[in-house]
């Protein structure tokens, strides 16, 4: 059987730029990623490596099923969707935090009335409140979640907070920090075992690249 190229699924958008920068720092030729046009599968100069561009949630689907061997995706998406993956590396970029935010001055945990949470991440929200032993009803919102408490649909939101500017401008504030997130390198379970040498050498290079950058930043 001919060997399949090592396929890396990359989350399109912001993580893509940071990932390409990292890959170039460790000496991978990403020419094809700069001139991608509308193509979605891009062979790298290095023989036998291919980059697939996909939406975050799809990265998990492709890597879990094994049609892609590795992927680069945010921890938020992993928490929301993944179950059978190896999560080998914290890439450090795409950093932000999950938080529970409420209208300024509100005490979310006060009183005993039923509470409603609006979020794009129902699984994360549910598991957070489950750990707190708190019954909340979770409403899934697709767009600007901040609207929900302002319109009176929800008592609070669970969302990704980067600078907090959007919250402030809309009269919301962080009530609790839930967890940190950043971009991760995920690997298919069978691929890691069957293509160990290839994957580990790539992981090693990326690790070196990250370490070098951390030293520079210090």
């Amino acid at each position: 059987m001919t060997t399949k190229p090592l396929r890396i699924a990359l989350t399109k958008g912001r993580l893509e730029k940071d990932t390409v920068a990292l890959m170039e720092r460790v000496g991978l030729d990403c020419q094809s990623l700069h001139q991608k046009g509308r193509r979605l599968i891009l062979p790298l100069q290095q023989a036998g490596t291919e980059v697939v561009l996909a939406k975050a949630a799809d990265v998990i689907t492709y890597v879990e099923s094994g049609v892609c061997d590795m992927g680069i995706v945010g921890k938020d998406t992993i928490q929301e969707l993944a179950s059978h993956l190896y999560e080998l590396l914290d890439l450090g970029f795409g950093r932000c935090r999950f938080a529970l935010a409420v209208k300024q001055g509100d005490d979310f945990f006060g009183g005993y009335g039923p509470k409603t949470i609006a979020t794009k991440y129902p699984k994360i929200a549910r598991s957070y409140f489950q750990k707190q032993g708190l019954d909340v009803s979770v409403v899934k919102i697709e767009g600007s979640v901040e609207l929900a408490p302002l319109l009176g649909l929800a008592d609070g939101i669970v969302d990704i907070v980067e600078t907090g500017a959007t919250l402030r401008e809309n009269g919301l504030e962080v009530s609790r920090w839930i967890c940190d997130i950043s971009a991760r390198l995920v690997v298919n379970i069978a691929s890691l075992k069957l293509r160990k040498a290839e994957i580990e050498s790539l992981v090693f290079r990326l690790e070196q690249g990250l370490a070098a950058q951390n030293r520079r930043e210090k």
């Binding site: 099923s65 094994g66 190896y86 914290d90 379970i189 069978a190 075992k193």
Partner: protein, 401 residues
């Protein structure tokens, strides 16, 4: 209004022709191979009481399909076959001489998250060896599993070994809360090196913490044993490592062509397994096609103190692989037999005669010779036999109908 009368429920599907043939053939080969090795076939009910699975921690409530029986009791579609077989062994076979070797081929049902392309019906062929806790039994099961895959043509196949005892020795030594230990286990299972180091870093420094930090990285070939040797002085850890290494060496001796890997970070279902754990992989298949291990405490749940080891082969995955790598032509008939209605007895005996010679032939339901010819041409059946006063054999050409 009927909305769902033309589709199958999510997570289920129809299996047709070539795929069905490959799957049945694979199943037959595996079962035959197991029976020849002294395993006795069993079947357990598709439905079991919820208590059988609900009382233990091995399956979450969400992952099981539930029904209510006529007395209002909760039933589940079995999410696995090993637990029902443990029930069966500890009850009906409790007085049988040990070891007991059992095999099965049945479907397990799991409610999986929707829209992820997973199957809720999981066809498995498996074997369980109850009543022997020795390394010889471990080796027998590894070789048996490997043989099953080889015999159905699933090559090149990679076996992976681990030992849950290595992890348990270290985690027992660690002073941490139970929830932290479970989190550590999970991070090891995910090979989440960063989060694992962070979590262990929050605990007081100890040899066990340092060893656990390295555990998920200890996978690969025989080199793992060298790397693991100095990891911990714990007697239990060293014992598990020795057991694993011996088994690894014996497996390679017994089957020099075998591709064998080791992973000390195989810690899934740590509550269930008690010793050796193993998995099998086929190239291009994203999930293990074989999984198994030693579960010495499960039968205890049913009041029988007997060690046991077992494995399950994931039939869908193996059959899918075989179909992809060794595509087969569909089995179509090579002859069509037509007879006029009044010659039915003669026609039927001719049909049987052909079949007994191994010809795959189809009985023509046409009303005339001409219709039978047209049918044979459309179906690309190369030969047509017309039963009459004299037997006529017609070769069907390629000319258009």
């Amino acid at each position: 209004m009927k909305f769902h009368d033309k589709i199958t429920p999510e997570g289920t599907r129809d299996v047709l022709f070539e795929e069905c043939t490959v799957r049945q053939r694979t199943q037959d080969i595996i079962l035959k191979s197991l029976c020849e090795k002294g395993f006795h076939p069993v079947m357990t009910p598709t439905m079991e009481f919820y208590d059988l699975f609900g009382a233990n921690r091995y399956f979450s409530q969400e992952s099981m399909y539930k029904l209510i029986d006529a007395q209002g009791r909760i039933l589940v579609l079995r999410p696995d076959s090993t637990i029902p077989i443990a029930r069966l062994t500890a009850t009906k076979l409790q007085n049988e001489p040990h070891p007991i070797r059992l095999c099965y081929c049945q479907t397990a049902y799991r409610a999986t998250p929707s829209l992820r392309g997973r199957l809720d019906e999981i066809s498995q062929c498996g074997a369980e060896l109850v009543g022997c806790g020795s390394a010889k039994a471990d080796l027998e099961m590894l070789l048996t599993a490997g043989d099953c895959l080889k015999e159905c043509g699933a090559k090149p196949f990679t076996m992976e070994l681990g030992h849950i005892g290595a992890f348990k020795a270290l985690i027992d030594e660690l002073s941490a809360a139970d929830w932290q230990k479970e989190e550590i286990r999970q991070l090891i299972e995910e090979k989440n090196y960063t989060a694992l180091s962070d979590l262990l870093g929050e605990l007081p420094a100890s040899p066990a913490a340092r060893a656990l930090d390295q555990l998920p990285r200890l996978f690969g070939g025989a080199d793992v044993f060298g790397r693991a040797a100095t990891l911990s002085q714990s007697a239990a850890f060293q014992a598990a490592l020795r057991e694993l290494e011996q088994l690894y060496r014996q497996l390679i001796q017994a089957d020099p062509a075998a591709e064998v890997l080791v992973d000390l970070g195989l810690v899934n279902q740590a509550e269930y397994y008690t010793g050796i754990v193993f998995r099998g992989y086929l190239p291009g298949i994203g999930q293990p096609v074989l999984s198994g291990g030693r579960y010495d405490r499960l039968l205890n749940d049913f009041g029988l103190q007997k060690p046991a080891i077992g494995f399950a082969i994931h039939l869908d995955a193996v059959a899918g692989y075989l179909q992809k790598t060794q595509p087969q032509q569909p089995l179509s008939p090579t002859a069509l037999v037509y007879w006029p209605r009044e010659l039915a007895a003669r026609g039927f005996s001719f049909l049987q005669q052909l079949r007994s010679q191994g010809v795959r032939c189809e009985n023509s339901l046409a009303d005339s010779e001409e219709e039978a010819k047209i049918y044979a041409r459309i179906q690309k059946i190369p030969k047509l036999y017309i039963v009459g006063e004299q037997m006529e054999e017609i070769t069907i050409g390629e000319e258009p109908v």
